[in-house]
Symmetry: C2
Subunit: 390 residues, 2 copies
Amino acid sequence: MKDLFADRMSKVPKSFVREILKVTEDSNIISFGGGLPNPDSFPHTEIAEAASKVLTLESREALQYSTTEGYKPLREYIAQRYCKGGLKVDADEILITNGSQQGLDLVGKVFLNKDDGVVVEHPTYLAAIQAFGMYEPKFHSVKLMEDGPDTVALENLLKKEKPKLFYCVPNFQNPTGISYSEDKRREVAGILRESGTVLVEDNPYGEIRFMGKDLPPIKKFLPDSVLLGSFSKVVAPGIRLGWVAAGEEVMDKLVTAKQASDLHSNYLAQRIVHGFLTQYDVEKHLDKIRTMYRRQRDLMVNSIEKYFPDGVTCTKPEGGMFLWVTLPEGVSSMELFDLAIKENVAFVPGKAFYAEDPEINTMRLNFSNSNEEKIVEGIKRLANALEKIL
Amino acid sequence: MKDLFADRMSKVPKSFVREILKVTEDSNIISFGGGLPNPDSFPHTEIAEAASKVLTLESREALQYSTTEGYKPLREYIAQRYCKGGLKVDADEILITNGSQQGLDLVGKVFLNKDDGVVVEHPTYLAAIQAFGMYEPKFHSVKLMEDGPDTVALENLLKKEKPKLFYCVPNFQNPTGISYSEDKRREVAGILRESGTVLVEDNPYGEIRFMGKDLPPIKKFLPDSVLLGSFSKVVAPGIRLGWVAAGEEVMDKLVTAKQASDLHSNYLAQRIVHGFLTQYDVEKHLDKIRTMYRRQRDLMVNSIEKYFPDGVTCTKPEGGMFLWVTLPEGVSSMELFDLAIKENVAFVPGKAFYAEDPEINTMRLNFSNSNEEKIVEGIKRLANALEKIL
């Protein structure tokens, strides 16, 4: 059977993160490894009420086949929310997908021939490497600084390699928690504008800013680009709903690709989420998440400062769900992982997040899915493991 | 922007069926065009109750990220149902997908390099051409007779072209309504067993047999094959849930491909459907659908016999949702379509369902989504259009 598989399958590893999650199923282990939102943040009652309403009043429609593009009122809601934020987007420029992950897959399907270039951040979102990887591109990466990518390197890379896509996560990136400054956003837009490369901007965490001021998406300075969004972090991930925003020409291709992939996204879920978004106080709900995550992030950052040995640094994100730890040069986070498991604490070694030239001394910590007690205890355990390795 | 799109996008047309659905949105038109189940067949109350239960009792789990493979109890239910029907399948051999459509996409992703051969039936399911088409294979087709494919032609084709996949719909095929006889199933299994070709058996309609006796899936005679299933026709399509059954080695690749495509299928929906399937009388529910569709099928077949002019023939399916009309040689169903729209009745011209060498004098009629009055009236209108063209 092996000879029958497509070439692409030999190139895409299983998600290391998901493999790690299996190790950490042991309930004694405090895991900062996963990328899960806090289930306390889900609007449980509201979703139950919205579901009941949809299934009582609109069941014949909600359970039937629907259009590939998605539920029009939901697309209108998303477009209006962008417009309120200062980004002009029409409902017809929104395609509903199964989380933003499917958006990545569809973008790969629509744009990538084998060996086309894709520039990603260094480090980057692991599952983007997987999604694009299925279309067998050549990955290039551009170093992420404190305020966004190394733009000189980006410009050179675009000139030299003429890649099809530049994929980035400008808000509270997974894995680093880094955000692009407004200057960097403008600069990236300027560089892209002069190139033949399409910007693919992924923004699953943008609504979860708990410090600092909101910054415009790069798409605002580069309208002819692709922007991905998700309800996974602001409503709930189990419903698998996200979207792609793109202009007419790209949208037309995305719809064709989506149709071939699974006809359309879960229509019942689309109507339920729309019901929640329009019948409840979403700002209050978002504030609740932001307050919760801010407290958890502060506690993790403070605990790291208190317990971690000198020479270990971390990012201090203004939103999102992750922070990024850098160990002293030459210290391997993979080796640390083994020691940490013995201390009953888990994280994701940084290695998994690089499309090329992985750095061995980095690691990702998730702060959204642990309660306050576990955060302090987990960081203490991690500090013990660090003492041993340093 | 156009130059930036992947080659595959120039090869896949938009679904003609979905384009037709737009024409037929006019409420004066009686449409036999779509492929929709009858919304009267949906278990509305049961789904509402099951949803309420899940969202009250299991909300923290149901709204969270889950495993790529799918909700284990749902996979166990599917495996047990196969076992009851005499097909030995383990829950670990089931992957939950977004309808069987996503199963087709994942199978394409896992198996197909550019220019690999795929054999399909002549005619075949349109959206399979679209799903596989994204991986740029070479399509070959094998004529469908009254009791299944022309097996001599199939055997020759497999020897000559050494295709990767043979895709078929042995029960109440879309578009023709044709089913494979048990002999043909065994024969196809035998031919495939001797070849290096993987069987991809799609069975979305198998549970909707309203006449004749159940026949085993080809997988029973060829365990090392891929079998697709769907809840779209037996529960509801708006929830977008189906599955792939395959052995360990293929399953491993399918899971990798699914993970890259959208992480996992809607978890809330998986739990709701599982609740419905295990807490209600599913056999009674299926009998209701079968009785409903049998009545609609009988009425359409009888009306055709009564009103259609001589020389026009149709299949008489024992289940499913479609029948297939053949016009006299040389008469174009595309031209008939234009006349039919003037008579306020719609169908899908057969042309859309061929991977190669389309036959112009065929057409698909859907009987599941029209009430009895509309079936009689629609067939009368179609007969008027036929009188004009013949």
